[in-house]
């Protein structure tokens, strides 16, 4: 599949590759160059491949509360919450943002690779949970999206698009008019920087892309989207979260409201896991060498026993260190614990550190 911006990426000379069924831009000018543009100025990502659903009707809130780990009941209208869809066993179907327009209108935004799985899951839950008055719609084919990220994002929104976002708080959204079209704009992102996510139909997103490009915003590929999110310790589904990695194991309990009056799917399992302490957990690692720990590499204790694996690893770009997130057994999750990482034919010493490798600079 192609996003509405596909031909523009190709014309700009982006290196393209298949991702979640879409032919997506991985890199334009260079991953470090694009990464730094987002940290220092402003960059934009075509994230039209992401999935958007609508959950509407009088039963919408009750349904979201039941399937979503975070708090939707106390979320004010116009606010966004990050959380997960969990199964009864606590495994993660997907992680997502939920936009609350009102108690009867929610927009979940999900990972591209999981659109079909998530939608089928929600349909199944709707049947099983017997919640009445819920309308579930998959908007993904009709909604495109640009993420504009970086310290200059607010200024670009004002100067290039004529949209004053100075009053829009972190994790809130609005639905402004632009050139006669209604947009949905949230102050969110996946880079650790200030920025916005803009949702609109394809023809509007195409137009916005051109305007932002004209304004000097750096086009960025999925390559630096991953290095940016990684450096601030944000998880990627399939790496730090998965069908068989729970939010508690993913070190994301803070996004699970475990004391909802009626619970959510899997909340009892997760509450117990949190209480007892998970058997393994996602931690940050710093390698004491220039070698680079990559996803899948084994993590060993000092005697050489396998105690986990790397879930994401890089030579940091904003942080000049070899760093990783890793899923390791409970006895090795404390800060400053010494471990080893096997990289090809050698092992390298590493130490457990907080997984916020680079400080976020959100506007709050």
């Amino acid at each position: 599949m192609k996003t509405c911006l596909h031909d523009k990426h190709v014309a700009l000379g982006a290196q393209m590759a298949p991702f979640a069924g879409f032919d997506m831009p991985i890199v334009y000018r260079g991953i470090p160059e694009e990464h730094n543009a987002v940290r220092e100025h402003a960059g934009m990502f075509d994230v039209s491949h992401m999935g958007e659903f609508h959950v509407g009707g009088p039963g919408a809130l009750a349904f979201i509360e039941r399937v979503f780990t975070n708090d939707a009941a106390n979320l004010p209208d116009g606010h966004v919450a990050y959380g997960m869809l969990t199964r009864e066993d606590g495994g993660v179907v997907d992680d997502l943002l939920v936009y609350r327009r009102s108690a009867t209108s929610f927009v979940p935004v999900v990972n591209a690779a999981n659109i079909d799985k998530d939608f089928a899951w929600l349909q199944e839950c709707l049947k099983k949970e017997g919640i009445e008055g819920v309308e579930l719609t998959n908007l993904s084919d009709n909604v495109s999206e640009i993420a504009l990220q970086g310290p200059e994002a607010e200024e670009v929104m004002r100067k290039a698009l004529g949209l004053d976002m100075s009053g829009l708080e972190f994790y809130t959204f609005c639905e402004p008019e632009w050139e006669g079209h209604k947009l949905m704009v949230s102050r969110t992102g996946y880079t650790g920087e200030d920025g916005f996510e803009i949702y609109a139909p394809a023809e509007v997103i195409t137009r916005i892309w051109d305007v932002l490009l004209e304004a000097g915003v750096e086009p960025c590929g999925l390559g630096c989207r991953d290095t940016l999110r990684f450096e601030v310790g944000l998880p990627l589904y399939g790496h730090e979260l998965a069908d068989d990695i729970t939010p508690v194991e993913g070190s994301l309990s803070m996004f699970c409201k475990l004391d909802k009056p009626n619970g959510f799917l899997g909340s009892d399992v997760l509450a117990r896991q949190k209480e007892e302490g998970p058997k393994r957990r996602i931690v940050g690692l710093e390698l004491l060498d220039k070698a680079i720990p990559r996803a899948g590499y084994e993590v060993l204790d000092m005697e050489g026993n396998v105690i986990g694996h790397i879930t994401t690893g890089y030579r940091g770009i904003s942080v000049d260190k070899s760093i990783a997130m890793a899923l390791v057994d409970a006895p090795f999750t404390k800060r400053d614990t010494q471990v080893q990482v096997r990289i090809r034919r050698k092992t390298f010493p590493a130490v457990v550190i907080p997984r916020r490798f680079y400080k976020k600079s959100y506007k709050k």
């Binding site: 290196q15 991985i26 890199v27 260079g30 991953i31 470090p32 390559g223 290095t227 220039k290 070698a291 680079i292 990559r294 890089y314 030579r315 770009i317 070899s322 990289i343 090809r344």
Partner: protein, 123 residues
């Protein structure tokens, strides 16, 4: 004389010594190189087997030796400055090998054959 392998390493041969690195095509395909994993002086390398890796931001790619022999020198400049390979892949060889079987060179491509090979791979 310069020889190339199908996995995009080159061997620049002077007498019994081969300077081994990656081709300009390979460095371009990899993008910014951030780390080079190299063997040590005195290690043996075997034709067709990996002796290290070059890593871009995104991924690690194994380095396969085009020839067999003993490593007599590694390019230590690459430890602190791996991007030298992006600047000039042919000048910035990775290891220097004393060949044990120079007849292995016959199984490699010359410059013209490699150019053709790359042109095909791009399609």
């Amino acid at each position: 004389m310069i020889y190339y392998s199908t996995s995009h390493e080159y061997a620049r041969v002077e007498g019994n010594i081969a300077y081994i690195g990656i081709s300009d095509y390979a460095q371009h395909a990899l993008g910014n190189i951030v780390y080079v994993d190299m063997p040590e002086d005195g290690d043996d390398v075997t034709a067709g087997e990996d002796f290290g890796a070059v890593e871009s931001v995104k991924a690690a790619s194994d380095l396969l030796s085009p020839v067999s022999g003993a490593v007599v020198e590694v390019n230590e400049q690459l430890i602190d400055n791996p991007r030298l390979i992006n600047e000039d892949a042919m000048a910035n060889w990775i290891i220097k090998v004393e060949m044990s079987d120079p007849s292995e060179l016959e199984g490699l491509m010359d410059e013209a054959a490699y150019k053709e090979f790359v042109a095909k791979e791009q399609h």
